[in-house]
Each structure stands twice: as structure tokens, then as C-alpha cells.
């Protein structure tokens, strides 16, 4: 339908894409290349910009750094905690929302509310909820006979505190995606199944879940990618520290610390590359899983 591009049409197009290209080129494309290069810098002088040579010593350094190993471990705990819990809860809520008519959009609005709020601000609110002495959560637990937990001071609970808050914040986003997915399922399947006598839960496991496969896949990929980048939550919840005794150190926090607080740019870049590779590999695994088990 479209004719072939000409020199004239290309020049004209350049006028339209140039502003976007200039910004994206400078702040998205160039830094990707530069990050890879930088991760290989050795004896890098951040004041003069002089590079002593290229090699893998930054990677060796971080992989031998217990803090980085902890950061990787915590980030995986966070991802494995947040993503599955969030998917189960948000899918349940989305299905329930399709069962009712009145108030459906009202409830949906409430579940989505945390999505628009500042992570920093709401993390500060949560740090108040988690407060060991005056916090609402410990008061609630106290009513159930549980002794006060120092969520933000006890290294054993730091990751739990993060996961609970992150699940709460991310639910609305997943619910919207699930509602779109549920809406795309042909109602005839349900009518047919009803005639065949399938009970509610049978219909859910035999129709909803398989046909929702692509959405579940999408939500899990987006959830994994986002969760791997957790930073603001940690910074605000633990008052500019990576958790009590560094126990909630995450990969992005590690990058931030190396770069911003310790001025070790090349080491920080190497940590960034490792993060990128982890996300890439996990996404590829998910895609392989998707091919094998999701039926369109």
C-alpha cells in the first residue's frame, strides 16, 4: 500500500524524528553502549576520565563481594516473594470483580490507588505502620496475641516488610491487566461448560487459567522485571539505609551505593550489567516456559 521511501520523504521524516532521536540517542542508546564499556574499565580515574585498560576485574570484584552476593540473594527473594503472591491475589480479585456489577469499578479504583502514589511517600507511611512500638501492624498483631515484631530493625523481617508493601502497591496494576485478559475470553466457553455441568472452580481451572495464559505470562514478566529493580522502597522504608545492618541490600541499591556513595563508577556499571543479564536470562526462561505450557 505504501510507496517506497525516497530521499525527500526520508529527509522530511528526519525532521519529525530528530528531536526524539536526539534525546533517546543521548540518554537511552549511548548509555547502554557506554555502560558495557564502563563495566570493563580498569584503573578508572573519575576526575580525569582516564582509563588504565580494559578487563573483567570489576566483575571479579563484585562476584567476590559478600555485599553483592547478599544483594543478588535478596533481590531474588524479593522477586520470588512478590511476583507469585501478587499474581494469585490479583487474579482472584480480578475474577471476583467480574462476578459483580454494582460497585465493581469502585472497588477496582481502590485497588489501583497505590499505583499512582509516590513510592517514597507511601514507603514512609508504611514505615510508620511497621513501627515497632507505635505501629498499626504491631497493634493488630498484639490483638492476636503476637509479640511486637521489629519489622524495620530486625534483619530477619526486613525482606518480609518489603515484600508485603510491594505486593500491596503492585496489585492494582496486575488487576487491570487481568481484567483485560478476562474480558477477552469468549463467554461461550463458560456457557458451554455450564451446560456440561462444570462447577465454578472447574470452570476457573479449565477455562479461565488456560485461556488467561498469555496474560499470566505477561504479568509475571512485567512483575519480574520491575521487582528486580527495587530501590526506592528500600531507601525510603529504612531511612536511606539498605535495611538494618545492610540486610535488605538489593542489586540496584548496591549500584547506587557503589556509584553515588563510593564513587566506584566502573564497579557500579559492572553490577548494572550483571542485573541486566539476570533479567535477560530470567525473561528468556519465562518465554521458554510460556512456549511450553501456554496454549493460545
Amino acid at each position: 500500500m505504501m510507496e517506497k521511501p525516497t530521499l525527500k520523504s526520508s529527509l522530511k521524516s528526519l525532521f519529525y524524528i530528530a528531536p526524539m532521536l536526539l534525546i533517546v540517542g543521548t540518554f537511552n542508546l549511548y548509555p547502554i553502549v557506554q555502560s558495557f564499556l564502563m563495566s570493563l574499565y580498569q584503573d578508572y580515574n573519575i576526575f580525569t576520565g582516564e582509563v588504565g585498560g580494559y578487563g573483567f576485574s570489576n566483575f571479579v570484584e563484585i562476584l567476590q563481594d559478600p555485599k553483592f552476593i547478599l544483594a543478588i540473594r535478596n533481590t531474588f527473594i524479593f522477586v520470588l516473594g512478590v511476583v507469585p503472591i501478587s499474581i494469585v491475589i490479583s487474579l482472584t480479585i480480578a475474577v471476583l470483580l467480574t462476578k459483580i456489577e454494582a460497585l465493581s469499578s469502585f472497588f477496582r479504583s481502590i485497588y489501583f490507588l497505590p499505583f499512582v502514589t509516590s513510592t517514597v511517600a507511601i514507603s514512609i507511611v508504611w514505615s510508620w505502620i511497621y513501627h515497632s512500638r507505635f505501629g498499626l501492624l504491631n497493634y493488630g498483631l498484639g490483638l492476636l496475641g503476637v509479640a511486637p515484631i521489629e519489622f524495620l530493625e530486625d534483619p530477619d523481617y526486613a525482606m518480609l516488610a518489603l515484600v508485603i508493601m510491594a505486593v500491596w502497591k503492585g496489585l492494582g496494576f496486575n488487576i487491570i491487566l487481568f481484567l483485560v485478559g478476562l474480558n477477552n475470553i469468549d463467554a461461550n466457553y463458560y456457557s458451554a461448560a455450564k451446560i456440561d455441568g462444570a462447577k465454578g472452580f472447574q470452570r476457573f481451572t479449565n477455562i479461565t487459567v488456560p485461556l488467561l495464559g498469555p496474560t499470566i505470562f505477561l504479568v509475571s514478566v512485567m512483575g519480574v522485571i520491575n521487582s528486580f529493580k527495587v530501590f526506592d522502597e528500600v531507601f525510603a522504608l529504612f531511612q536511606s539505609r539498605p535495611g538494618p545492618a545492610g540486610s535488605a541490600m538489593t542489586v540496584v541499591y548496591y549500584i547506587f551505593q557503589k556509584f553515588y556513595q563510593e564513587n566506584q563508577y566502573a564497579v557500579a556499571a559492572a553490577a548494572g550489567i550483571v542485573l541486566f543479564l539476570i533479567i535477560l536470562v530470567v525473561t528468556l526462561i519465562q518465554m521458554g516456559f510460556n512456549k511450553k505450557f501456554v496454549h493460545y
Binding site: L22, V24, L97, K99, F134, S240, F256, H295
Partner: protein
């Protein structure tokens, strides 16, 4: 598909034999009501739980210092202390932070809309060499976590002499591949016939874009803009890195600094948090359907 057939055939056979199943079907209406009641109860409890942090924030922000740390907790303070908000503005320059946030958000959003609309138009309606290749490269950049870009971008901004300026917080964000992608999809859905007709009528591309395409894509553009406003208003790490002057801080950075300044005055801290959160909630309440649409569409890219 196969799965459903495989499972439903034996079920179909069993329903013919067993009367109980039949009875269940007949009582479908009453079953529906109990399902619905259960759905309302669960959703009601769930949404109340979702609201607790917001209610607790507002409640604490109106308390006296003694009420804030009272045990058992007080939900409704005896006197609504609006003064907490005034005090927060006095203790830290939240007015200034607020204006900074408005300025940064407004300029980033306007800038992004401009660059994105132009680029999306070229990708949707114009012909040029390397179009598909360029688009593929751009889409591929979305895979890379933004956190990876922070170090080189910091050096770029620093080489430009822009550390501690508003420009440092705005310029890197006046374009977005994601938004180009969203608007391109939308522009493509508008028939080419309209474009050719306008050309025959002597309208040039630029005029066609702004007088026909943009008005027709209003809701997609509003969705992109609102998602940008929310992202920009709530941005934290980048502004923290490129500024160290109090006067330049946007709200989230200022709020975090305030946590050390406010110490244990939780009523002030909650008032300040509410100041940061409230504008986005207002935008959400009024423009909800655009946000939901934007999020739903963002899911389609996968």
C-alpha cells in the same frame, strides 16, 4: 482448546446420568446470589485493607503529637489539627519543593508529548529509509533497565555542566520510546485515506498531524501524558543523584530529607507524605479512565 474438549466430554456424559448435577444447574440463580455475596464481602474486606495505609496517613496527619503515639491507636483525633500541615510547610520548604515538582513534571510532560507526537507520526504515516530497523532498535532499548543508564547519564549531564539545575531533571525525560510506541499504534489505527484526502485538499503533513491526527487521538495522548505526569511526579533516584541543593529538590527528595528533619514527629511526617500523594490522587480521581486505559494498553505491548 483441546483441553476443554477433552475435559468436557466426560462431564457431559456424567451429567446425563447423575441427577444431582441437574439440580445444581437448575438452582443456578440462587447459587449465583451466594457467589455474589461472597464476592462483595471479599472485595469489600480487600479494598478496606488496601485503604488502611491511606486512612492511617490522613488520620495521623491530623493528630496531636500525643495522639500520634497513643496506644491503642486513635483513629479519629479529638481535634483535627490542620496546623500540622502548616507546620510541615514551615519546618521544611515544602512550598518550594511543590513548585519544583510542578515545574519539572509540566516541562517533562510537555516536552515528551512534543517529541513523541512528532516521532510517532513519522513512524506511523511517513516513509523513510531504515524505518523498521530504527524502530526495532528503539523497542529493544525498552528491555534495558533504566538503572543501568544512570551512571553514563550522570557523566553526560555533568559534562554538560547541568548538575544542580532543573534542566538535569527534565532534559533526559523529554522523550520516551514507550510513548512513541503507544502513539504510533494509535496513529496507525486512523485510516490512511484521511491522510491522502487531506493531502489532496492541499494540507501539509504538519498541519494534518496537529489539526486532524492529534485531535482524533486525544484519549491516547491524554493517557500517555497522565502516565508521564505520575512517573515524573514520583521520580526519586535521578533527581536525588543530579541535585544536592535544597532549593532544587522535587517533593519525593524533599520528603525523604524531611524524615531526618522531622525526627519522631510522625504527625508532621504523615502530613508531608499526604502533600506529596494528594495531587496524584486528585488527578487519578478525575482522569481515572485514561490511566486505566494507558495501563491496559501498556500490557498489550507484550
Amino acid at each position: 482448546m483441546e483441553q476443554i474438549n477433552r475435559k468436557s466430554t466426560p462431564l457431559l456424559a456424567s451429567i446425563l446420568k447423575r441427577k444431582k448435577e441437574k439440580a445444581d444447574l437448575d438452582s443456578g440463580a440462587s447459587q449465583n446470589i451466594s457467589t455474589r455475596v461472597a464476592a462483595y464481602v471479599l472485595l469489600g474486606l480487600g479494598s478496606f485493607t488496601m485503604l488502611i495505609p491511606f486512612l492511617w496517613m490522613v488520620s495521623t496527619s491530623l493528630k496531636s503529637p500525643a495522639e500520634a503515639v497513643a496506644m491503642p491507636p486513635v483513629w479519629i483525633p479529638q481535634v483535627f489539627r490542620i496546623e500540622n500541615f502548616i507546620e510541615a510547610f514551615e519546618v521544611a520548604p515544602f512550598g518550594r519543593y511543590f513548585l519544583n515538582s510542578v515545574l519539572i513534571t509540566a516541562l517533562s510532560t510537555l516536552g515528551e508529548l512534543l517529541t513523541t507526537i512528532l516521532a510517532a507520526f513519522a513512524f506511523a504515516k511517513l516513509k523513510f529509509y531504515g524505518k523498521n530497523l530504527l524502530f526495532t532498535i528503539l523497542i529493544a532499548t525498552m528491555m534495558v533497565p533504566g538503572e543501568l543508564l544512570i551512571i553514563p547519564n550522570y557523566l553526560t549531564i555533568s559534562n554538560m555542566g547541568l548538575i544542580n539545575t532543573y534542566a538535569a531533571m527534565i532534559i533526559p525525560y523529554v522523550a520516551s520510546v514507550f510513548s512513541v510506541f503507544m502513539l504510533k499504534q494509535n496513529f496507525e489505527s486512523i485510516p490512511n485515506e484521511l491522510y491522502y484526502a487531506a493531502k489532496v485538499d492541499g494540507s501539509n503533513d504538519f498541519r494534518f498531524l496537529w489539526t486532524i491526527l492529534v485531535p482524533l487521538s486525544k484519549s491516547a495522548i491524554v493517557a500517555v501524558a497522565i502516565l508521564k505526569i505520575i512517573g515524573s511526579w514520583n521520580a526519586f533516584m535521578w533527581p536525588l543523584i543530579v541535585t544536592n541543593e535544597t532549593a532544587l529538590r522535587p517533593l519525593p527528595v524533599g520528603l525523604l530529607a524531611f524524615t531526618t528533619e522531622a525526627g519522631t514527629h510522625y504527625q508532621l511526617l504523615m502530613a508531608a507524605s499526604a502533600i506529596v500523594i494528594a495531587p496524584m490522587i486528585l488527578i487519578y480521581l478525575f482522569l481515572q479512565r485514561y490511566i486505566i486505559m494507558g495501563v491496559a494498553k501498556s500490557g498489550l505491548k507484550g
